[in-house]
Symmetry: D2
Subunit: 424 residues, 4 copies
């Protein structure tokens, strides 16, 4: 089964934006193999704009030329990914990652490059052209590169087949498809085509849909056609966004299970925004500064990891791994905590207010359960698991951040902090 457990890995967006390079990818893969692999981390994912030679920040350049083959398929910009030279695409880089015992993923946008349509390029292995497959009125609201496809025409599936077959030949293990998960209903059919192309490309490829929020009314459709799908818009290191995730997690938790995972987005921890000079200048958004380290407090990072793990969200690290400090590395290598991703099931909140939240999840093996408490307020606060919430008759409780045994399911928490117990 593809994605039996929530995928865990690293993604280049939070630290390198549209400007990720092969060198950076290799460095992060090396780090993961050395420090994280033993804890379950395995995917190395190259995010957006790898075909655009001049991308330098988190922004997109309208009408920029993108590298593509004669069939309108984007290929890595060789100036950024040297091993892609001579038409080898991502194969050499994927081979390198595989050689470390890891898996390799890439980002794509739905649709095909606008210029492939204007140039009327042929679709590989098809009688149709890109001009026939492209829908000139289907454009992404935030990225200028592509046209969506006319999904009622056979040309559309032909195009998607042509790219997934290429990705399979490169050795891709994970595709994050963008501009699609929140685009219901008009992208419903496009999701089905992409899924069909992915499932039939001859290689096990995890299919991840972005950005969110995907509509919860489409849960069954998403579970059938994708392995993970974003439940939020882009998540960054702001408390407001983290707090908001509790409501989203509540709506989605019943839909998590082997092969289909609601995705709370990357973990913005450690060294972020590394594609900028670290002088605090040059904003790409008024909402966050550009200094290069996560704005999350340690408490907030515990809260994030606790929620992501108990709800069994996929875990994709956003920070530049080689720059991790001790705290960050320790955060990401808390084995008993990460075990929830594999051992918990039927996780759900038992209460949620503006000030606090409590989650509970049994273990699949029947040997106990987990209970987490979150202080969502801005003041120190004692948060307790309600008696009604843990119907499992436990004998021993261990708090997983401290590693200490506990008599009561109650904790005095700093603002935005969390505690989580393993109950046996």
């Amino acid at each position: 089964m593809i994605a039996q457990y929530p995928p865990m890995g690293w993604n280049s967006w939070d630290c390198y934006g549209a400007a990720v390079t092969e060198e950076t990818v290799r460095a992060n893969a090396d780090y993961m193999a050395k420090y994280l692999k033993d804890y379950g981390w395995e995917y190395i994912v190259v995010d957006i704009q790898w075909a655009q030679p001049t991308a330098a920040t988190h922004e997109y350049i309208p009408f920029a030329e993108m590298d593509m083959d004669e069939f309108g398929r984007l290929i890595p910009a060789v100036n950024r990914f040297p091993s892609a030279a001579n038409g080898q695409g991502f194969k050499p880089l994927a081979d390198y990652v595989h050689g470390l015992g890891l898996k390799f993923g890439i980002h794509i946008m739905r649709g095909l490059p606008r210029m492939a349509a204007h140039r009327r390029l042929p679709i590989y292995g098809s009688e149709y052209t890109c001009a026939q497959a492209a829908n000139p009125n289907s454009v992404c609201a935030w990225n200028p590169d592509m046209y969506g496809l006319k999904c009622d025409l056979p040309a559309a599936l032909d195009y998607y087949r042509s790219i997934f077959d290429l990705y399979a030949s490169w050795g891709v293990d994970y595709v994050k498809c963008d501009d699609i998960a929140r685009e219901y209903p008009h992208c419903k059919r496009e999701i089905e085509l992409i899924s069909e192309a992915c499932r039939n490309c001859g290689r096990d490829i995890v299919l991840s849909l972005s950005p969110g929020p995907a509509p919860v009314e489409q849960a069954e459709h998403l579970k059938k056609y994708a392995n993970l799908w974003r439940i939020t818009d882009d998540f960054w290191d702001e408390w407001r966004l983290l707090k908001g995730m509790f409501e989203r997690a509540e709506k989605w938790c019943v839909h998590a299970g082997p092969g289909h995972w609601p995705d709370a987005d990357m973990l913005p921890v450690g060294a972020l925004r590394q594609c900028y000079e670290q002088d605090g200048q040059g904003a790409d958004s008024g909402e966050r500064s550009h200094h290069g380290w996560t704005n999350f407090t340690e408490a907030e990072q515990r809260t994030m990891l606790t929620l992501w793990c108990i709800m069994r969200s996929p875990l994709m690290i956003g920070g530049d791994l080689p720059k991790n400090d001790d705290f960050t590395l320790k955060l990401l290598t808390n084995g008993p905590l990460l075990a929830m991703e594999k051992e918990a099931w039927c996780a759900h909140p038992v209460c949620r207010t503006e000030e606090e939240c409590v989650w509970v999840a049994p273990r699949k093996d029947g040997k106990g359960c987990y209970a987490a408490v979150f202080n969502l307020s801005d003041e120190e606060r004692i948060v307790s698991v309600p008696h009604s919430a843990v119907e499992y008759a436990w004998a021993r409780a261990t708090e997983l951040w401290s590693g200490q045994p506990s008599d009561a399911l109650s904790a005095k928490l700093p603002p935005h902090d969390a505690a989580v117990w393993y109950l046996e």
Copy 2:
């Protein structure tokens, strides 16, 4: 704890409407004590209009005189409840029910009788009058008897105290308060006052709120102030309503737990609508006929019981118990099935389409779990539990309606039928 498990019992509405009598209540109590008590059934609940001497069907008579004491508190109509003579209220009947080892409940409408306001009667134990407590603009949309209260005034709490103290003196164990659960936000404060009066009356009284649908956004408020609350409008023996319950159950399931239970409403099984002549004439609604037996097929009744049990809804039998046939009695005494009400937790659907639905629930003791499949279509259908849905590693499966062991979690089901497995 009040309502540690979902309450199970009998309610007079489905079979006797507004016309229930003491004789009927005693007969149903006798039957329950003899045939059902051993399976967990215990509440005997007298539904609406017990203070109205002339009620004869499911309808309400505008401007009818209701029996009340000199403090504007409704008291049982003696012509219908003879033991209430001499101001004894429901005490003698409650005593009788207690004598059988059962518990006794009554229905009330929020507010106070309109005539108690127009007559400016004093509130018992208060310096205020009913005219001061009543809000002349707060009337029920479907019942003509009461005025809601001005909940910002102390007179309102005084009135609610006066009635709950009376109910405690009668020995009432369960109060179903009507015209309130779906009346958010304007009844939010009224719920709090009723809860306060109930909690402080000196007796453990289960507080149940009707009718639904209560708004799921108010889940925390409901959990705090009530023991159960309706998640639907009145539920009757129509497949359309039963099918619709699957969506409601999905929204509410995370909110079930000791002390607070989302309520899917009475079970319309067996002999219903017994307050009419059984000639099929005299409709009180164009939507259902008046014949006296449930319109649900046996398959539909299995589906209903399975869903109510796995979601841990309260169970209130709607039929006239002494008229139960073998099927109905057997349906209500399936011990392993009913065990889910006490032993399951963290129940949730894992998929739901127009055609089928699957639920899963672990056991609290860690010894296995439950999985149920439902055929929601109108044709025979094989319904299977997805592999991703049961992460518990089970060794043995028993189907609880047949009592037979099973190799696979898959069943060929007639239209509207269900199967449910206990997995060890």
Copy 3:
């Protein structure tokens, strides 16, 4: 034709609220006959609560006893209307008003008195009772006195006939029916019944519907069944409300015509709120103080009169007439301005912004037209009629507030002031 022109008169609400007395009515009628009649003013209207003996302010007293006859028809409280003694109702007062050459009107609430239903009083001239006609679930949101009627039953028309026949016998010329104009769709049928009773009572009675805003989608229904209907909620002496009327007037202007007039509500000029001690204490609403004189500036009063006249709204003076000062009397006796109510037609705004508004209306006789400019801003401002707005080729312009000739259709206006020209 009833209401060939927009009715003009006086109404007791703004100055005496629910506490109007016969003495006050007579004094206002005397004043109108002496000072206003020659300018077209003719209706004297007794507003709400004339059947309630203890009403003293603008508030309503829940569960107060109201005077009614043995058929559940409200009759004037004799302590407040002495001439109503001996069952004469409003006949003596109406006779007095008629003797002055004026017309007499009263206010009613839709429905019948609640206690008439609870007492099951018979309906005059009908086989039915008030209990049968009353709908116990139809109550006014802001007044506690009445139940709306079950308009599908013949008893409802019987009741409305019984009251309109009584009003005709009293000599009533104008009925303002309340709790109805904004209550579409549920009161649509009730409007039709009231209209039918009014049209068939044997006397010409103007039928006015309140409160607003009536829905503009129902314009044809209103035009068919009523002579005037409110286009706003209660209008008081606040600039915010006056400014808001420009948008409402724009929506409704095409619906004004002989027999059917959109009504912008009473004119709060002169001595208001006379039912309070004039110490500025005792608010019935946080939004306005209780001092006894209009809060409108003179400029605002000109703006109000100009808009009401050019849009041809009914004009009902809200102030206590005998207390008028010179300004107020002059305001109300500007003949050339008031002539617009009779001579203009096809009036409409030609532009409207946050800062200014311009209206134009031809004359019916083809001899010229009117153009008005309004300064809606809080600063002095030159407001001009756009060239495109007056397609009539005029030779002479007279400004109607100053009475002066004018070369250009442009005026430097103080904040909230207006100018209006008659163009020949």
Copy 4:
């Protein structure tokens, strides 16, 4: 003043779609000069796709090459407009039209050609490029040719100036700008830029905005920045659309006046859809057939002309003029009817139901008024002007379709027919 009266003319869309040619334009201009000019018709407007060499029907061809100059300005396709050879653009054709005593208009889409952006062409007379002015995310929902502009950048105004200056040099008198009138709020600024470029191009050019429905809340903005704007989506020869226009006309009528005219769209009369083989085959829409003659009955055409004239909508004939039959020519040359466009003002409906509608309009010169009745039902029906509707005291009535005097303002009308009286 530009557009002192509602423009009247001919537009190529209804008969030739995207495939209009110079030959056709000249033939229609010749006809107009000969048969229609004396009645006020004067504009000859070339509609969409004149820069696209291969357009053949009403459809648009994605990714088709369009003729443009080296500054990204579209120019007429020489194969369709031979006189445009040698860079002369529409100048020779405009000269020809002017020589006939008529005026010349063209259609444009907001924005600039997509390929002008992808090719990064310079903007004429600007320091910026088309790539800088174009917004890659602003595309038309129904046409694939253009990108909208980044209206906050100076490059946007530069581009619009560059095209309007070109149009002025060609001698264009009328520009119909498409993909904009219903695109509020996001196109509000784009309308302002286009208006500014139009007003400053050195030639009087009528600015018309399409398609509708423009939002009535934006009436003041539209009146300020445009001369006409569509109040509906495309109007064709279907009764459903014509009936629907009565509601739109009611909302918009107060906004008609010199310089600013709400536009009910072209008149689909006579020979339509001439770009198809006339075999009834080949639908471009499931809703209408392709036969080449209007589907409107004669009655419906009278209704359409009556409504358009009394509301003072612009009049643009949609049929191929040389193919007019007698009825059509007579319809378009009813002088007394067309006089309403110039002589009426303050037009408005006085009633409108599903079955009938009545409009009234005074004359600007004070000498009478107009009243029109419409039978909107599917059966013969007597429709009368309500007495309350015509407050002008008329002495003589002439029905303008029959030319006959009339005693009463009432007519027995066939289904969908109209009558209109001139009242003196």
